[in-house]
Amino acid sequence: MKIHEYQAKELFQKYNIPTQGGIVIEDATKADEAVDKLGGNLWVVKAQVHAGGRGKGGGVKLAKNKEEVIKYVKQILGMTLITAQTGEEGILVRKVYIAKAEDIKKEYYFGIVLDRNLEMPVMIASTEGGVEIEKIAKESPEKIHKVAIDPQIGICDFQIRELAKTLNFNKIVSRRFSLFARNLYQFYMNSDAEMVEINPMILTDDDQLIALDAKVSFDDNALGRHKDIAEMQDFFEEEESEIEAHKYGLNYIKLDGNVGCMVNGAGLAMSTMDIIKDEGGEPANFLDVGGNANAETVAKGFELILKDSNVKAIFVNIFGGIVRCDRIANGIIKATEITEVKVPVIVRLEGTNSKEALEILRKVNIANLISANDLKDGAKKSVQTAIGV
């Protein structure tokens, strides 16, 4: 789960990580008050969306007086921000963050992420702050420094010294950095974060280190033990249909094609998309109905798929293990009673009780129901139906 910059900064402050504070507003009329409260003579106005690259898209502005702050707040609030990460459709800005601008002597990159190969968190630092880390990695990988932290020991002094040296910090800054790094690691571990990225972390004219930006995502599986963080989820940032699916224990991801898919198991669901493509079609979605599929979940699945008007055919691909195919067949019948299924449904049922299932489907006369012999046959028929061959 991702959170906004202003939320991440609130969490940083709880861990005594020096952070550029600010005020978040959703209503442009509150800008005036916010500036008064913050004080100072130079401010930044930043769009609060989950996508990165906000500055380039016009979502971050520097304001020299109150009038400018108000002007930029009005400009950014309600705009559709398009960045490298949002795609062409962009993302609606519902919140802006106003902060006092800081004197910047130098910008750094600093973060922690799980390294799946090392199976440990890795602390990453670079002198090339303010630039996308992927870009640094590509163009000057020697400027990225990493230390892997054994979670059973925690971060060690020598590792912090190593990073401080690569960042060319003097003695005083190194001491500040040590505390900064320790607190950030504590935050990362205690809150089950998946990724923490501070880009940039800045050194001010008076040698203070400050987190100027904050990007954090958390391990979804651990949210159960962090109620305060779970409450930070911004549903406006998520695909509506995906949230709806989660409520019913379904895993749904919308795609751009026209062949809807309903499958049990994530791996089979992914490879069902693959075989549709291989047969010359385009999948409309990823949908894993899970191990406990029943009539209601199948009906919900049809409903979700059919919300997408591009869908011209639905391929139901079930390999029954613990899930019995006869139950799925009854589910399909019930689903067609609950939801009007207007497009042809191609059904491939294999595994536990598949013969009984096919018998059940044969007996009832559902228009638009096409049965498939195997995976390839099912994919082929689905693609042909969708393109109208």
Binding site: R116, N117, E119, A222, S271, T272, D274, F286
Partner: protein
Amino acid sequence: MSILVNKNSKVIVQGFTGKEGTFHAQNCLDYGTNVVGGVSPGKGGKIHLGKPVFDSVKEAVQATSADVSLIFVPPIFASDAIIEAAFAGIIVIVCITEGIPVKDAMIAKKIVEKHNAVLIGPNCPGIITPDEAKIGIMPGFIFKKGSIGLISKSGTLTYEAAHQVAQVGFGISTAIGIGGDPIIGSTFIDLLKLFNEDDETEAVVIIGEIGGDLEIQAADYIKKYFKKPVVAFIAGQTAPKDKRMGHAGAIISSGSGTAQEKMDALSEAGVSVAKNPAIIGETLKKMIEENCKNI
């Protein structure tokens, strides 16, 4: 022969008296697995499914000499269950639980390694040596006995592959679902090493997916050390970037971990890569026939 588990494996079930534990323990017993008891803290001394219940893994091991554990404990407590099994001397720990926090899995894995135990999963269907032991949630009847090793990150795709292996006239020596989480116990390489030494396994099928680079590491190992023919399929060729495809670990992040790069690495290592999931069996058959010709 087979790897890791066979008819002599003595299995205990952690989370034995819970709903999932009960259902699947019964299925394993019906299959013929030597389930010798189970663990449910606070319920020690009772009899469940005709087998003794213990308060701790340690007590269960002392009383039954169990060497394999099958875990159905809720996600927040699952890493504790894994660590408990390792401390009690269990050799093969199979964790079915889905949704374990990554931090917990990371630490549990390190402790299992310290105890020289083998962890399968979490978030996996388990392990099966056909006609001998089913230690997991897979439907046993799909797995016919034979000489093909099967290692897979996905549950239903394991069944699909085992079904196709049977359709082309072969069977399975041992099949292992390793799970699709970002951190898993045994990886492709760990199990390939065991299959390399197993006389009964003549060829191996590996089923990978997007995310991470375990498949690429496997390709490197196969190229250098693996003596037997390998067929592979990688799920998620059409998956969009930065979207988690059901499994916590199935995500293409920063453009790496794509299906294509894994398929390329495996092909380059001499593996026969099935382009789509419907031709896993067919690809295996063709490869084995060609291998026979060469001999």
